[in-house]
Amino acid sequence: MSLLKIEGLTFTYAHSDHPVLKRLNFQLEPGECAFVFGLNGSGKSTFALAAAGVLLKVAKGELDGRIELNGESVFDLAPHKLVQNVGLVVQDPDLQAISMTVADEVAYPLKNLGFSDARAKSRVSEVLELVGLSGYADLRPDRLSHGQKQLLALGVAVAARPKLLVLDEPTAYLDPEAEQNFWNVVQVLKNQGTGVVIMESWPHVPEFADSVYSLVDGKLIDGIEFRMPNPMAKQGIRLSDLRPVFDVEALRFSWGDRILLKNANFTVPQGITMLLGANGSGKTTLTKLLMGILRPQEGVVRFDGKPVWELGLSVIGRRVGYLFQNPERQLICRSVLDEVMLSLRAAEGGAVSEDRAMELLEYFGIQELADRFPLSLSASEKKRAALASLLALDPEFFVLDEPESGLDPLQLANFANMLERLAEMEKGIFLTTKNFRAPSDSQTNASAWLQCRLSANLLELRDGKVIAK
């Protein structure tokens, strides 16, 4: 009997006319690992929620077909049976912790199964050892790095020894080292007989995967036919040739006892500069310090010779466009057109021309989305809408915090084109990105691909210092 058997699965969301999954068939045996590649919007998360048996509990829609776990319909499983059969890890590490300590988090499903305190404690220790978090039992989950948070989520998912593990883009926010740690644990679980289904938007197949599929147009097909366009390497511009725009001097910043920057000294020139750093190295903090959103404990950040926090956010914001890692947090209007109009009004004051706003949308290829609600757009479209609203302020420089996050290969290629167009307009760009092993990883790694594509000047944030690469 198959561990997981899906037959003719069709699902249509309540607000849509088109099914996101179309008569999908899938089978997984115990101890088997299936890798499913799919671009954003292909239905990976819907598939993951369906396989985990919770789709109908968290989303409204029409479902046809059968999903069986060990021969039993997954939708008929009582909560205590579900937790013993399926473990789920999703993309966002920050949304998975609901407890105040790492140990309590792992204990949550066990308590729901009626484990005594002693039994729960013993199993929690085993799980924490498995995921390498033994020393963190009493720590608050939000104090962990992204990589550790995902390992914790994995630990919680397998605490009740489920037979099936469903992983929905679990490594999207992880650097290569954290990603490898995560896969190592998954491999151990697989070797112990756990069936694993992995959904990813990049074709980076772990070595231990037994079968590989692509989710295309709501259906599963064998293998991955997708090929990432080769990045066109261009001649890089030497750092020394360009005028420094940001000047960072003796910068020190810490969150509590966690020191992120210690005596960091560097300059950011005009042109494109890429800052590499591991998860939790302080990249986002550094971009916020550059923008004056955070104030350093020591040292100074100068933009065009002036300390940024003396300029004020509304002044620096007009000269430097800041793209958040999650652009949803900067899209605040009811329509994409309104987003750009809001910025134009702030920049020019009084009545502004809708034509000018449409021109900007056209520039980013999203003019057809003018009336759409920004939060309903895809990851790439959201980033483009945010950039259009920033460009409306006509800044001379852009600071982009991990712009590759959440983008699939095609979206990344589009986004890179846009960045080049900004550079052609002589806008300076400073962008942060996760570490990567080597540029040759560009077929499977977004950061590596972006580096090859943009041929930017490279800096690295390591141990609180920024060094030229």
């Binding site: 105040m100 729901n112 199964l113 620096i316």
Partner: protein, 249 residues
């Protein structure tokens, strides 16, 4: 609000806090005289200090609500003037003695309620869930309340980021007029709500696959809620004190 970690758990049972919050809320409604409300305010501050909550730091944070409090004072005076008129425009009393006292009482009521809420807000979701269950609230409902509280910090961070993003778009929200500021905040409310709903959906999926609602559930989240002598003493003293003040003894 910085929540306490497992190692820093407060010495009082969360049930005690819930009882104190209910009592404090009842007194806040029952007390009509501003002086009594002021005494209640100091009593709640004392409770916070006893519970190792940085009461004055919390009060300092309330400065952001100053404009709302001032609006309350103005509205109270305009629409419910009484007693001696202190300032009048075109014969209409703008500030009156009675209006000021009522406004003062109104503001104190809001502040007292917020301070009482802080008692619970510093607790962990597990302690809150366990306490609610011990007070007879069904597990599902108790879990919903505690996850909602946990969600507040996510919601607050997003709201702060959105305000920052607004400022970075050249809109200096702090120097805008009150009307425009309110309009801008209102504008933020919509995407914030949508984003929160989406996150809630993900969280719901996560909690579902962790066995939420299991009938096998026997054990509490952690065996940390246990009323002791000081819990009972605190509730008793506060109850007797409140009734005495209410009756004017």
């Amino acid at each position: 609000m910085e929540r306490s970690s497992q190692n820093e758990r407060s010495k009082f049972d969360v049930k005690t806090k819930f009882v104190l919050v209910i009592l404090g809320s009842v007194f806040t409604i029952l007390f009509t005289h501003p002086f009594k409300l002021l005494i209640l305010f100091f009593a709640i501050l004392c409770l916070l200090v006893i519970m190792d909550i940085k009461a004055f730091a919390v009060l300092f944070r309330f400065r952001r609500l100053l404009s709302i409090f001032l609006t309350l004072v103005v509205l109270q005076n305009l629409f419910s003037p009484s007693g001696k008129t202190l300032i009048a425009i075109a014969g209409h009393p703008v500030i009156s003695e009675g209006g000021l006292l009522k406004a003062f009482s109104g503001v104190l009521r809001v502040v007292n309620m917020l301070l009482l809420g802080v008692m619970i807000a510093v607790e962990s979701p597990e302690r809150i869930t366990a306490a609610l269950e011990e007070l007879g609230v069904p597990h599902k409902l108790a879990m919903m309340v505690s996850v909602a509280l946990l969600f507040l910090s996510v919601f607050r961070n997003e709201a702060m980021d959105m305000v920052t993003a607004l400022k970075l778009r050249g809109i200096d929200i702090d120097s805008e007029s009150l009307k425009r500021r309110l309009m801008l905040y209102f504008r933020l409310a919509f995407p914030l709500t949508i984003s929160a709903l989406r996150k809630a959906q993900t969280m719901a999926a996560i909690i579902e696959v962790r066995g939420f609602g299991s009938e096998l559930r026997q054990s509490k989240f952690s065996p940390f809620n246990n009323m002791k002598f000081w819990d009972v003493a605190l509730i008793s003293v506060f109850t007797i004190w409140g009734i005495a003040v209410w009756m004017g003894l």
